[in-house]
Amino acid sequence: MNYIIELGKFIYAYCTDFIINLANILNLSYYEINFIIFCVLYPILIIGSIGFYLTQKLRFKRIKEHNQVIPIV
């Protein structure tokens, strides 16, 4: 259990260091990078990936119906 807690602490520190490093590399700030990644990019990626999936499902359904073929599993 102690090992998992230590690992969690290490991951948290490593990810925070990454955000700090990214901020310095891109000449932005920790606040801005955090905001861009977690408040802008994440919601866009979540909504975008779900939207992409639903669009693909619809496309597949239409093509399948158009071709009138047995679905490939």
Partner: protein
């Protein structure tokens, strides 16, 4: 087999990018590394007006005052979202753990899952089109 390699590559590439950035920056840090939760970090906690350090993580006001360039005029909007998310994570009772579970594991997995599903459908569509 190719599919598994593709899926694995999509999953690990952001983490790989993080490791590359951190390990490239690590040797360039001259200041004393910050120790938090008995873990030694890469960056220091020194106050530095030129670049961000752990002080920006520990004290957002300092970062906003000295480092923020582009969002200065939008604090009225950005603070509400920024501190809203921090507040939500803190409400779980363990801010650090909630950060890892939601922002490092669950949400990336969710995004990865839908991307993989979409690519698999594209593969099926291509197969159907070839059959025509």
């Amino acid at each position: 087999m190719r599919k598994y390699i593709r899926n694995l590559a999509i999953l690990i590439s952001p983490f790989l990018f993080m490791i590359i950035v951190n390990e490239v920056v690590r040797p360039t840090i001259k200041e004393k590394s910050y120790s938090k939760y008995e873990i030694t970090a890469i960056n220091s906690v020194d106050k530095n007006t030129e670049k961000c350090t752990w002080i920006c993580h520990n004290n957002t006001t300092y970062c906003k005052k000295h480092h923020v360039k582009y969002l200065k005029n939008y604090y009225a909007y950005t603070d509400a979202i920024y501190f809203g998310i921090i507040g939500l994570l803190a409400k779980t009772g363990n801010y650090g753990l909630a950060n890892i579970i939601f922002l490092v594991i669950l949400l990336p997995l969710l995004i990865w899952f839908f991307i993989i599903k979409s690519l698999n459908i594209q593969y099926k569509i291509n197969k159907l089109k070839k059959k025509q």
